[in-house]
């Protein structure tokens, strides 16, 4: 008997018991859709976390000044300026694993437009800052190196600030605002970056040349940077090396003997991101494991139903054998029944899983990530369950003695 006929016989047998077939499939449907939805949720969370860290900056290291020390009282990171402009220049040019380095000086201040005012974060920095943070200009243009060299009174604005001062959707470029009494021209509007992993609004800031910041907003000791240094490593793999190289370079430049504590600190945000991603990875695996268990339970459901079905259909099997079905034909029929249930359940489960994943992604505002390999895996697994758990009932059916089967009550 050819496979197509076997399939038709099995399909007819399944259709004769639609309720039972449907309920049997349900286990697999739930299992497969759970696997797909769970993995999609996990992947979405992972991407969401990665996006949050990307928004903070790519391959970001933050170099901070040392702390003040007086009478045993230590002031905390950044309280004692130790990083010089010379340090910045050599980190940028002498460390091969460093691609970008920018001074970041910031303070809170009130800014005024003609009608409104808003207290926000004022950042003074160089052009590298935008490269490190992957922060592009939406409207207008970035200030130029010439602006930095000359200390022009220009700035680029975050979307939240523009909205507070001018209302949503208004292009503020070209307008003038006052910061600490000085008039500044808005040359560009930054793209929206959203929130930091800690909930801070990145878009609630204005960014100006570091030279202007020092001259007009907040001064400081001439040779020291009144803030921190953002460093962008050449790639995510080189951040740890860049950290060590910068450490060595700065200790050398600060003439620190071995054994003496560094008068600066370096924070590696990639490690933080990595740890966070590992956390979501564990969550994904956990969800997938739970879903896999439900898939297994679905498989056992198939076996249960098929075993009951073999007993219930003993006479049918007897009749089929009497009119010429070979044991292997019966085996094939029951195997194909199991396989059909499992694969159909798998296909329906994919549909349901994608639907659920879409709903969840929409409600969590996560990117929808359906992994093709997981779909293949889930369907492969459900087919394997069909064969694996269908084999025993099918074998049992094929071993029936036609006479016993026919006389079965």
């Amino acid at each position: 008997m050819n496979p197509w006929v076997t399939f038709k016989v099995a399909l007819r047998a399944l259709l004769r018991n639609k309720t039972r077939s449907g309920l049997t499939m349900l286990g697999i449907v739930i299992g497969v859709s759970a696997v797909i939805a769970m993995v999609a949720i996990g992947e979405g969370a992972k991407v969401k976390v990665a996006q949050a860290f990307d928004a903070m900056g790519t391959n970001l290291l933050i170099v901070m000044s040392g702390s003040t020390q007086g009478g045993g009282m230590r002031g905390g990171a950044g309280t004692m300026p130790t990083l010089t402009w010379g340090d910045l220049a050599s980190v940028r040019t002498e460390v091969s694993s460093v691609k970008y380095a920018a001074p970041v000086c910031q303070t809170g201040a009130s800014i005024q437009s003609d009608e409104q005012n808003w207290t926000t974060m004022i950042v003074g920095t160089s052009l590298d800052y935008f490269a490190i943070r992957n922060w592009a200009i939406d409207k207008g243009a970035l200030f130029s190196q010439a602006d930095i060299d000359s200390g022009s009174k220009v700035l680029v604005m975050g979307t939240t600030v523009a909205e507070k001062l001018y209302g949503a959707g208004v292009d503020p470029t070209g307008r003038t605002i006052r910061v600490r009494g000085s008039p500044f021209q808005i040359v560009g509007l930054l793209t929206s970056k959203g929130q930091s992993p800690m909930g801070q609004d990145y878009d609630d800031a204005v960014v100006m040349p570091v030279t202007t910041f020092r001259a007009k907003i907040q001064g400081g000791l001439a040779q020291y940077i009144p803030g921190v240094v953002f460093v962008g490593a050449t790639s995510s793999k080189t951040t740890s090396r860049a950290q060590r190289d910068i450490e060595d370079l700065l200790r050398d430049r600060h003439h620190l003997q071995p054994g003496i504590e560094s008068d600066f600190s370096i924070r590696n945000l990639s490690e933080l991101a990595g740890a966070s991603q590992q956390g979501t990875q564990v969550m994904t695996s956990l969800l997938a494991a739970v879903a896999a268990v439900s898939l297994l339970v679905g498989g056992i459901g198939i076996m249960n139903i098929l075993l009951v079905s073999v007993t219930e259909r003993t006479r049918e099997i007897g009749v089929r054998m009497a009119i010429g079905a070979k044991p292997r034909t019966i085996l094939a029929q029951f195997l194909v029944e199991a396989l059909t249930l499992a694969v159909m359940g798998g296909v329906v489960g994919i549909g349901l899983g994608i639907f659920v994943a879409q709903r969840l992604a929409a409600s969590f505002q996560w990117p929808l990530l359906i992994r093709g390999d997981i779909i293949v895996l889930a369907v492969g697994f459900s087919a394997a369950i069909g064969i694996g758990f269908g084999l025993y009932p099918a074998w049992k059916a094929s071993r029936l003695d036609p006479i016993d089967a026919l006389r079965y009550e």
Binding site: A322, I323, A325, K326, P402, L406
Partner: protein
Amino acid sequence: MATGEQPIEPNVLLRLDGVTKVYSLGDGVEVHALRGVSLTVHTGEFVAVMGASGSGKSTLMSLLGCLDRPTSGAYFLEGRDVSRLSRNELADVRNRTMGFVFQSFNLLSRTSAKENVELPLLYAGASTKVRKERAMEALGRVGLADRSNHHPNQLSGGQQQRVAIARALVNQPRILLADEPTGNLDSRTSIEIMALFQELGRSGITVVVVTHEPDIAAYATRVVMMRDGRVVDDHRQVPLAAVVPPATVEDVEGGVLAGGAP
């Protein structure tokens, strides 16, 4: 068909030679269902196998139908010894040579009459077209062509048994084996079925009916009596012609109730 193992008399369809069947019930308990049965059946015969329960008539039936293998002895079917074939080979023999009719009809539920009749052809590997044609032909032969799309629960008992007979005939078998075919039918429907069997016998199909009712055996051309696993009597007779009496109101109502037709 294989030849040469057995000199074939003309018209000999099957021959049992000293066949025994012993069932082992475990703990060394054995049941001797057949204690040496020898029997020759010719093509076109209508044989009734009779006996009390436990006489071995059902065991004889399953051996004749190749549903089971004898413990010892030989079974020549169309000259070929089938007593030592494998389960798979026996399935082929049943499919090509036998048609079965059971007391409880044994139709597949929730399956149309036509699909039930098609089943043996499905296992024989016939094409869809051939299956449809032959199934309709067989249903026509038992007078149920207009019921081909009915499910068993929409048919009366007699109609169900006729569908079962159509299924038995569809593969053009040499032998029709019927195990108490009228056990679940009223007398009028029983006569209809017997008339059908007599007609099949005339067309060259050998019919073997197991029954414990002498009324039914009367329609056969030959009666084999079994007792304690042996043939105790085997004689040919002039069969009673099966004439269906005209229907009465009671018969129709009785048939409806007994057959469970809608």
